[in-house]
């Protein structure tokens, strides 16, 4: 690492270093900052306010400790949790951050080596490759799997790796301020009195991986949080669950309710003082401050606010957090979400969102690396009308390939790739028998590609493919004995079945998205000129020689079969070329490529001309390997009414292909709408195109709504209804169209359309658009969204969605760092949602219901008592009981329920995906449920008060002494309350583990122990004024009548609940009731979620992650390291090749800007960025 000392001296403070700080506290700042933060929470501030109120003697209806003890406890628990979170987060971050790059600063020049992550946004200065080229993989950034090329300025690439020159480099870069546009960069380099324009093509962005390039030097332009990647991550919005929002609303309601009660009681107090209290003033003299009854009412209001504050439960928030923490640990501990191959357990990185996992309605999934492994495997092929790749047993039945299936032994081939597996032995036999078509097939695969080979040691071939598909094909050919060994701009050397054969490369007819094919023209050692072509079947089949019809028919059948299995197919064909014709064609090509106008079109027509009347060889089928269990997971999640949208930066074809192989797109769907607009932003025609797109949307929308409106008319006709519901549509939309659709007037239409579709696939979308789609659903659907992805391009979506899930274990950690949950395999999502999420939601809801119930039952007794004690704010209970009720007596059983309860076990949760639906519909805890449980609380408080009231009005002890005193009354009610709420938690607990037993019985025991301890002689003798209840427990709880009162109270409180629940289960059972019922009846129902193979399809499964431009790169020889060995790169073989890099880069720019500059972030922001002041960065 080379640093410029002068730079440091003056400017180091101006720029960020490369560290990304996450830690909030250190040892000294922890207490003040944490306390400050905690008191910013409304609840805590409220309790602080109460505490202050209690210090006013005229108001204080409770001792100070009743509030301070719980408050301190709550603050302590929260502080401990915050500290651990901060510490753990810190440790994690430092583990993930690369120590080496931490101190990199803007202006530093750093060296990167092959396969290294780019650590900051760099200006490429020089590289090991000729012309200052270097290759990067941007999968982390945009999800595209092919390699991208970057080129340094010629002046800087001359610096090479000369350290002294590099150290003396004193260019000055003036560039735009840090922004989040991944595909745009504007800047100027001032160096040696010249100006050099800089653009995106000279920039290596943080998050890319250097490939096929031994080393490169770059100067840091942006570091740390200023890098484009981090800028793209968006602000980490504080995520709140819907339950929490509801909870906050409810707390406000309760607060309002509290004020109402306070006002009622205050008015009551004023009236009472006026009517009754004045007669009593001889016994209870008014103090000076109590000048009149209205003022007394006012003071009473505050006193009652203090007393009744327990309806707003202080321990609610902390209990909720504890429960969530517990649920998070259960996720971390789940062995079924642990991925052994990478030693990667699941991780809940946020502990505040668990219950939301049980309410997810929309999943937005990335494709590459999330659904797929990003590994392409040569799986099957069809050669000359015969398929290879399936394994049959001796009875001719197809065998599912598993790990035990014996592989083909390629040991005859010294140059084989040992990682390649193939199971069908017949293909090797065909090769060994020397079937000419099979040989030609593999020869084509070995010749027709743009792969570069590297042979560090003899026989150790490394292929560098710009797309994984090509890599897979060439590797297959290599193992079957057609080893692509080396290439020069003019030749390709194969090692064909043990012999070196060198082909002369005459032309590469490059791939592009319109042609959907690529061809090479070679001259073999015998002197024949051959054209080898591979491409989409639909394209290639149109260009075949008519004699191929039969073969085409069979191959087409095979292709359908392959497509049905979700394989990516390519058709292969060849053509023998006539020497004369070729010479003529070559000449015309030469002319065409030198013309300035319409060059592209001329070339295309020439290509078209020669790629005719080809002979079909067969077809390849590549498996874009899905991650394990993806299809099953998707099927299961779909059954639980979760809608899955795939958002990918990849191409339409590959996205659709994956859609089919994951069973999200099926042939039996009524219609698959594909909306792909191709836009050129440079032209100003976009308003027209927009209206065009709008029309497309409307068309699609009308198609849906027509049957829907007709059912509204024909409501009686059930069959029609059924049909429309079951009709399935899919929507596939690309980034350009999406950009328009996301505009204000269209977005609702898009959303409505999309939501009517069973499957939505968005392809070629930018990271920002991913986030916008998520935002759209969030905004209008009020549904819980989950985004899952693995790459840096998913970060914005992960951060936008309610829940972000990162697939960990791939090389990049950006997605994981931004995520709320992370695990190694997509299939764990099923378990995360259906088991953990569902339980979390269920538990949290039950917890909240019980919690509100409990507090209402506990507190409202004071309200009723108010009517009998002259509204004087006298508490019913012992002050210690008030202090301890929430935090000691009743906290643990409900916590245990909140942590361990299970209504149905995990097997059933997974077996019955429909069990997930109550969460999505928000059924278990909503305003109605809240109302019901507060009503139950009010009822309980009524019973708790009035039964003892009735019983105590004229009672004495069995020894005649009185027991109708306030203290005995308090103990009776408190004991009844504890017993009632314990019975209630017993009823609410569906899953009595030892812990539940321990806590419930333990709480009761603790209650009685503390009761007797606090009412004991000893403690009274020490603190007589704090424990005035001496002996009350002994004297009242030994009385049969008191126990009879408690029993009656408990019976009256509990029986209605039991009756209602029993009736509800019988009359309106929920699915979980049914599952429980049937589970008891031992009627296991197996549901078959097995992957359904697609039946025959007429659709092309062509998908190829390839990019235009590499053909030129090869024929020009500029990317050849071997160029040193072949010093004279042929000039003018394909005229115009001097401009190859420009055209390559131009094509990229078009694509990129087309993809990113949509109306939303395009024109508007473009003008903005012009106006923003340009940040100057001086580089020494």
């Amino acid at each position: 690492m080379l640093a410029s000392p002068i730079f440091y001296r003056f400017f180091s403070s101006l720029f960020q270093d490369n560290r990304i700080r996450t830690s909030k506290y250190n040892i000294f700042t922890f207490l003040p900052i944490n306390l400050f933060e905690q008191f910013q929470r409304v609840a805590n501030a409220y309790f602080l306010f109460l505490l202050i109120l209690q210090l006013i003697p005229q108001i204080s209806s409770l001792s100070w400790f009743t509030t301070i003890v719980p408050l301190v406890l709550v603050l302590t628990i929260t502080a401990v949790k915050d500290a651990t979170d901060d510490y753990v987060g810190n440790v994690l971050c430092s583990r993930l951050q690369n120590e080496k790059w931490m101190n990199v600063r803007v202006g530093d020049i750093i060296k990167l080596e092959n396969n290294q992550f780019v650590a900051a946004d760099l200006l490429l200065l020089s590289s090991s490759e000729p012309y200052g080229l270097c290759y990067v993989e941007t999968a982390e950034l945009d999800g595209e799997t092919n390699l991208k090329v970057r080129q340094a300025l010629t002046v800087t690439s001359e610096l090479g790796m000369d350290m002294s020159k590099l150290a003396d480099f004193d260019g000055e870069v003036v560039c735009e301020p840090p922004n989040n546009k991944l595909d745009r960069f504007v800047g100027t380099l001032y160096w040696k009195d010249s100006r050099y324009p800089l653009d995106n093509e000279k920039l290596l962005l943080r998050g890319c991986v250097l490939r096929n390039t031994e080393w490169c030097f770059g100067m840091v332009i942006f570091a740390g949080p200023q890098t484009k990647l981090m800028q793209n991550c968006g602000r980490t919005a504080f995520k709140r669950t819907s339950i929490e929002r509801l909870m906050n609303t409810l707390v406000l309601w309760i607060f309002g309710f509290l004020l109402c009660m306070g006002i009622i009681l205050a008015i009551g107090n004023s009236i009472w003082e006026e009517k009754v209290g004045k007669n009593f003033r001889d016994y209870l003299v008014w103090e000076d401050v109590l000048s009149n009854s209205v003022f007394s009412g006012f003071l009473t209001f505050w006193s009652y606010i203090i007393i009744l504050n327990t309806v707003v439960p202080i321990s609610l928030y902390v209990s909720v957090e504890v429960i969530r923490l517990g649920h998070s640990y259960f996720i971390n501990w789940d062995r079924k979400m642990y991925y052994g191959q990478r030693d990667m357990p699941a991780e809940a990185r946020t502990t505040t969102l668990n219950e939301e996992l049980g309410q997810v309605e929309y999943i937005f999934s990335d494709k590459t690396g999330t659904l797929t492994q990003n590994i392409m495997v040569f799986n099957k092929c069809s050669i000359n009308g015969k398929t290879y790749g399936d394994v049959y047993d001796e009875f001719g039945h197809k065998v599912e390939i598993s790990e035990k299936t014996p592989c083909v032994d390629f040991s005859f081939n010294p140059l084989r790739d040992k990682k390649f597996h193939f199971y069908d032995h017949s293909l090797v036999e065909a090769i060994k028998l020397g079937d000419p078509m099979v040989e030609e097939f593999f020869r084509l695969l070995a010749l027709c590609h743009t792969v570069m080979s590297e042979e560090k040691n003899e026989g150790e071939l490394v292929y560098q493919a710009q797309s994984p598909d090509e890599g897979a094909l060439v590797t297959a050919a290599r193992n079957f004995g057609f080893v692509f060994r080396a290439r020069t701009p003019e030749t390709i050397t194969l090692y064909e079945m043990g012999k070196h054969v060198t082909y002369q490369l005459l032309a590469i007819l490059d791939f592009n998205n319109v042609r959907k094919r690529m061809s090479v023209i070679v001259r073999n050692p015998v002197g024949q000129i051959k054209l080898y072509s591979k491409g989409a079947d639909t394209i290639l089949f149109d260009r075949l020689d008519p004699t191929n019809d039969d073969l085409m028919y069979t191959t087409s059948e095979h292709l359908n079969e392959f497509a049905g299995e979700g394989l990516r197919t390519l058709a292969l064909a060849y053509k023998d070329l006539d020497e004369e014709y070729f010479a003529d064609w070559m000449k015309r090509l030469h002319i065409a490529s030198t013309t300035l106008e319409n060059r592209e079109e001329l070339l295309a027509s020439l290509y078209e001309e020669i790629e005719q009347d080809m002979m079909l060889l067969g077809a390849t089928a590549i498996e874009d390997k899905l991650q394990e269990g993806v299809a099953e997971t998707i099927a299961c999640l779909t059954l639980s009414s979760i809608k899955i949208w795939v958002l990918t930066g990849d191409k339409l074809e590959t996205a659709m292909n994956i859609g089919y192989s994951c069973n999200m797109l099926r042939d039996d769907m009524n219609e698959v709408f594909i909306i792909t607009a191709i836009l050129r932003v440079q032209t100003l025609r976009w308003p027209q195109e927009r209206s065009c797109i709008k029309k497309v949307y409307l068309d699609v929308y009308i198609k849906f709504t027509r049957p829907l409106t007709s059912i509204q008319k024909l409501k009686t006709n059930d069959s029609v209804f059924e049909e429309t519901i079951t009709s399935e549509y899919a929507l596939i939309i690309n980034g350009h169209s999406l950009a328009h659709a996301l505009e204000a007037d269209l977005e609702c239409l898009l959303l409505d359309t999309a939501c009517l579709c069973k499957t939505v696939v968005c392809c070629r979308v930018t990271p920002l658009q991913k986030a916008q789609v998520v935002e759209l659903v969030k905004k209008y659907k009020r549904a819980v969204t989950l985004a899952i992805g693995d790459g840096a391009n998913d970060v914005s979506m992960i951060k936008t969605a309610h829940i972000g899930v990162g697939i960990s274990g791939q090389e990049g950690m950006q997605a994981v760092l931004a995520s709320d949950y992370s695990f190694a395999q997509f299939r764990y999502l099923q378990r995360l949602l259906l088991v953990h999420g569902r339980w979390s939601y269920y538990r949290m809801c039950r917890f909240l219901c019980y919690f509100f119930y409990k507090n209402f039952a506990f507190t409202l007794v004071h309200f009723w008592f108010g009517f009998f004690c002259g509204f004087s704010a006298q508490t019913v209970y012992d002050q210690w009981f008030i202090t301890l009720f929430n935090i000691v007596y009743t906290s643990l059983p409900v916590l245990a329920m909140g942590l361990f309860d299970q209504d149905v076990n995990e097997q059933n949760s997974l077996r019955q995906p429909k069990l997930y639906e109550p969460g999505q519909l928000n059924l278990l805890f909503n305003k109605r449920q809240f109302f019901m449980c507060t009503l139950q609380g009010i009822y309980t408080s009524c019973v708790l008060f009035f039964i003892p009231y009735g019983a105590f009005s004229n009672t004495v002890r069995d020894d005649g002494s009185h027991i109708a005193d306030q203290q005995s009354f308090a103990v009776t009610i408190a004991t009844s309350l504890i017993i009632v709420v314990s019975v209630q938690i017993g009823l609410d607990t569906n899953y009595w583990t030892a812990v539940n037993h321990f806590y419930i019985w333990g709480s009761l025991t603790v209650y009685f122990s503390i009761l007797f301890a606090m009412h004991s002689d000893g403690i009274f003798r020490i603190f007589p004024s704090h424990f005035p209840f001496i002996g009350t427990a002994r004297n009242s709880l030994t009385q049969t009548s008191v126990w009879l009162v408690i029993l009656l109270t408990a019976v009256i409180c509990v029986m209605p609940v039991v009756a209602i629940r029993f009736l509800r289960t019988d009359l309106y059972p929920t699915l979980s009731d049914k599952v429980r019922y049937n589970g008891r009846k031992q009627r296991p129902q197996e549901q078959n979620l097995k992957r359904v193979r697609r039946t025959s399809s007429r659709r092309s499964a062509y998908a190829f992650s390839h990019q235009e431009g590499y053909g030129e790169l090869i024929t020009s020889g500029k990317n050849m390291k071997a160029a040193r060995l072949f010093p004279a790169p042929p000039t003018g073989r394909i005229p115009g090749s001097s401009s190859w890099i420009e055209s390559l880069l131009k094509k990229r720019t078009e694509m990129a800007s087309g993809a990113a500059v949509g109306p939303l972030n395009g024109s508007a922001e473009r003008s903005k960025s012009e106006n923003t002041p340009v940040q100057q960065q001086h580089i020494d």
Binding site: D343, S953, H962
Partner: protein, 353 residues
């Protein structure tokens, strides 16, 4: 990242396979099935009804008579006199006659009752110093601020301080039996043993200063404003029943939960006279009241209550009736549940998944 060997080795991050961490703790999952709920309802219903009936019969056996003496008998004069604050210290005695229709068997308890007297007001209840009452000498002379404005009388600390003590009920009763044969028999009552043991022995203690008698100990304190005699002279007949441990005082200091209450005054002494050996015989009685406690201020009533007790306590008709009603309702609900269960639940009609 190097490839690690899958899930093995000491550094593996594989979670423990414990039942707790995997949420597989053995557990009991009860559910509200007909087999449990219906019998439960019938049993609880029956138990409630039976308990209610048993209690009802018990309560029926308890005899109780309440005599409102606020203005009845000859007490209206005293009532008037007490209305006037000027004559607060003038002694007034009056009597009320009543008759018992049947014998009051066994132990008979004499209570005084107050109606509409709020002992349960917050400031009233707070207005006491338990430190003083437990005999702490420091608190004796420095009563707690809670006692204000009944803490000091012109700078002299009040003992016992506070509103509760100040408003202590100070009527006294003499019950006379008027046998049909003529004459008057004074009914003897125990005036001690009426407070809780814990109150008498723990919560209320006289301050102890060595070699000092009670009056000396209380020297330097004032009696509460409304009291006619100091705390150490509350019971002239029993020197051990004076000071803070005077049982009438202790009983009064145990604040009633509701504005209408009765407090124990005395227990029939069945040993002293043969006629009362089995309780109070039916017949005419007269109660003579030393009428000190003013009732007109709080528009209340004063009662004398004679009652017997059972194992269940006093004559409280609410609880038995509540039990019977509750039990009845539960039985009705149980029948409804049974019908619903037989019609629907038993066949599992709604249980198709």
């Amino acid at each position: 990242m190097g490839k690690k060997v899958a899930g093995s080795g000491p550094c593996s991050r594989i979670p423990d396979n414990s039942a707790f961490k995997q949420q597989r703790l053995p557990a009991w999952s009860p559910s509200l099935t007909a087999e449990t709920v219906l019998p439960f309802f019938y049993i609880i219903g029956l138990v409630c009804v039976l308990l209610g009936v048993a209690l009802f019969l018990t309560v029926q056996k308890i005899q109780e008579i309440q005599v409102d003496y606020t203005t009845s008998g000859t007490c209206d004069a005293c009532f008037e006199m007490r209305s006037n604050k000027m004559s607060a210290s003038v002694k007034c005695r009056c009597s009320v006659d009543f008759s018992l229709k049947e014998n009051f068997q066994e132990d008979v308890f004499l209570y005084y009752g107050l109606v509409n007297f709020h002992q349960n007001l917050r400031r009233y209840m707070d207005s006491r110093d338990d430190g003083q009452l437990v005999g702490r000498t420091t608190n004796l002379k420095n009563p707690s601020t809670y006692c204000e404005p009944f803490a000091y009388n012109n700078g002299t600390p009040i003992a016992p301080c506070g509103a509760i003590a100040n408003s202590m009920f100070n009527d006294s009763f003499t019950l006379k039996y008027l046998p049909p044969t003529g004459g008057v028999v004074i009914v003897p009552f125990y005036r001690t043993g009426i407070a809780w043991y814990t109150d008498k022995n723990v919560k209320f203690r006289n301050p102890q200063i060595e070699n000092e008698l009670l009056p000396q100990v209380f020297q330097g304190t004032a009696q509460p404003f409304y009291w006619q005699k100091p705390v150490y002279e509350l019971d002239p007949s029993d020197p051990n029943n004076n000071g803070f441990i005077n049982e009438d005082f202790i009983v009064w200091m145990r604040e009633a939960a509701f504005p209408s209450f009765k407090k124990l005054y005395g227990i029939l002494n069945r040993q002293s006279k043969a006629i009362f050996e089995h309780g109070l015989p039916a017949g005419n009685y007269s109660v003579t009241i030393s009428y000190n406690f003013p009732a007109q201020y709080f528009q209340g009533k004063k009662l004398v209550v004679l009652s017997t007790v059972s194992w269940f306590g006093g004559k409280n008709i609410f609880l038995p009736i509540a039990y019977i009603v509750t039990g009845g309702v539960i039985l009705v609900v149980a029948v409804v549940l049974t019908v619903v269960y037989i019609k629907i639940g038993k066949k599992g009609l709604n249980m198709e998944e």
